[in-house]
């Protein structure tokens, strides 16, 4: 979580300095959801996430150095600079994609679960998606099919209150989205998404159910985006009172307090200092890495290669 927060803050600084390319969607305040959920999974399990996926990338075990390299379009990035910060994927860690089409991470995870089921493999998939994505047609279609076929998938709704600038009360007549699970005949629960232990426990329960072959679950993790929708966000739709209230519930100080009680403050400070050094080194190395050379994509070429045709 600290790694993710430091990554986000450094990206914010570099954006202000005009050194980033394209929008960056920071997840400050939401780290507990992606990190807590990914901690339940092994490399064999799949996870899909949104355009705001940095906590999932870090949580699934990807190296900060190669994440930063991808965000800055470097050859050494996870996708050689072809994907960018929203569309990063890494097969080795089962991190099968940030997805910048809102709602698309939901059927994506279900398709992987179908593949797992057909091959009778011992793994699961997790779909991370937001309250905005919960209003799409594919969300409904996917939940219906996944429950019908008892697919080994966990639906993790990362509810951060806003779809871009639009509050959830303007997007759905039902404030508690986990209630929808009943309509698909699967369990649904609402949890504090800023409590990383609660996230871990809920995802563990849902993962066990999926591994047993009992099908999907819906977890609504309530959280809040402390920064803008993206680096292009002009703000103005979140009230200062609302922001202050959620800042008091920031997942990182909450976790720090709990860990200090069990591990001692010194140990926690050491871990945080190590995280800071790792992020510092990640940016330093990645930003010195080479830019990729352009290579055309052969399968996209519209004509049969010369000599292969008639």
């Amino acid at each position: 979580m600290v790694l993710t927060r430091l990554l986000e803050e450094r990206l914010g600084d570099l954006h202000k300095a005009g050194k980033t390319r394209g929008p960056i969607h920071r997840c400050d305040g939401q780290e507990a959801v992606g990190v807590g959920a990914a901690a339940v999974l092994t490399d064999a399990d799949f996870i899909t996430t949104t355009h705001r996926g940095h906590a999932v990338y870090i949580g699934k075990g990807l190296e900060p150095r190669r994440i930063v390299a991808e965000i800055f379009g470097r050859q050494t990035g996870y996708c050689g600079g072809r994907g960018g910060h929203m569309l990063l994927g890494d097969v080795e860690h089962g991190m099968l994609g940030g997805n910048a089409i809102v709602g698309a991470s939901i059927p994506a995870a279900a398709g992987m679960a179908l593949s797992i089921q057909l091959r009778r493999e011992d793994r699961i998939s997790v779909a991370v998606f937001g309250d905005g994505a919960a209003q799409t047609g594919i969300c409904h279609e996917t939940m219906n099919i996944a429950a019908l076929w008892k697919l080994p998938v966990v639906f993790l709704l990362e509810h951060n209150e806003y779809g871009l600038t639009v509050h959830h009360s303007v997007q759905s007549s039902v404030p508690d989205l986990h209630l929808r699970a009943a309509g698909y005949g699967m369990p649904g629960e609402q949890i504090d998404g800023n409590d990383v232990i609660a996230v871990h426990q809920a995802v563990s329960r849902a993962a066990q159910r999926a591994r047993r072959g009992d099908g999907p679950s819906l977890i609504e993790a309530r959280t809040y985006r402390l920064e803008g929708f993206s680096t292009s966000d002009m703000g103005g739709y979140q009230t200062p009172e609302e922001l202050a209230a959620w800042r008091r519930r920031d997942p990182i100080p909450q976790s720090r307090e709990i860990l200090a009680e069990t591990l001692g403050a010194t140990r926690v400070a050491d871990v945080e200092a190590a995280a800071a050094r790792e992020i510092e080194a990640a940016f330093e190395t990645a930003l010195a890495d080479p830019m990729p050379a352009f290579v055309p994509h052969a399968p996209s070429v519209p004509y049969t290669a010369r000599g292969e045709g008639a």
Binding site: G89, A104, A109, M112, L114, H297, P299, S300, T304, A310
Partner: protein, 323 residues
Amino acid sequence: MAMMRYAEALNRALREEMARDQTVFVFGEDIASYGGVFKVTQGLAEAFGDRVRDTPISEQTLTAMAVTAAMTGTRPVLEIMYADFLPLSLDALVNQASIYNYIWNGQVTMPFVLRTQGGGGVGTGAQHAKSLDSMVAHIPGLRVLAPVTPADARALLKAAIRDPHPVVFLEHKLLYNTRGEVPDDDTLGEIGRARIARAGRDVSIFATSRMVLEAEKAAAELDAAGISAEVVDLRSLRPLDLDAITASVGRTHHAVVVNEDWRFCGYAAELSATIMEHAFDDLDAPVERVATLDMPIPYAETLEREVIPDAARIAAAARRALA
């Protein structure tokens, strides 16, 4: 060789590939217990169990699921009942299936086949009679195949299932009951290779799917008038067999392009531009374009006949090219 219907040839391809490879599975609406509304998947559920699945009516999600199933170790063959429903699948094709091999730097392949059927001629109306070829052939990263003979239907479907990239496989509702010889051996079609359906000297007619049959009728009519027309069945809309096109134009110096999609911004427009760009020096006359009239497909037979291309319109276009 065995004589069989186009639908039977497709069924045979699916059966053979499912028997050969346990990771191939087939899903779609009404395809399992009923065997598909065009009976292409008949008997597969009995033979292959849960690898053949009836689905809810959820084209958007089914297509998106096929994409990620394909990138994680299976070979999905999804049936979308009518090409008119392809717009529902489009996000998964444009924003998902076609991009990952490239943007993830080769980490994944996408052995996914979307089978669908389009075309008019039998009064199915404006929402069940379209050909949306250009909509899918436009997308970099996809392959688009449109076989017209039963032999090619079997051979190209087998090749599509084994291909590592996403394939949109376009069938035609008026082809399912057509019959032809199909080889008994395990022939795989070659993606990106056209076929000379009829050799000729005076004019080349480049056609796709059922329009190849209309072009052959037109060629017979022209032959009776002393005009020798060559009919080229393109078979693979993307990648397109450019060498076959330029070679044919080099022989005849006149070109007619025929496709059942709409004319404006349609697949025939791409063929015409391709010929202009790559064979202009060989042309003795402008390329003639035959396509569906730019309007919704009407229901009544007398009206529908005015809109969909046929042999008479193709023959007239060939005469204009030679005039």
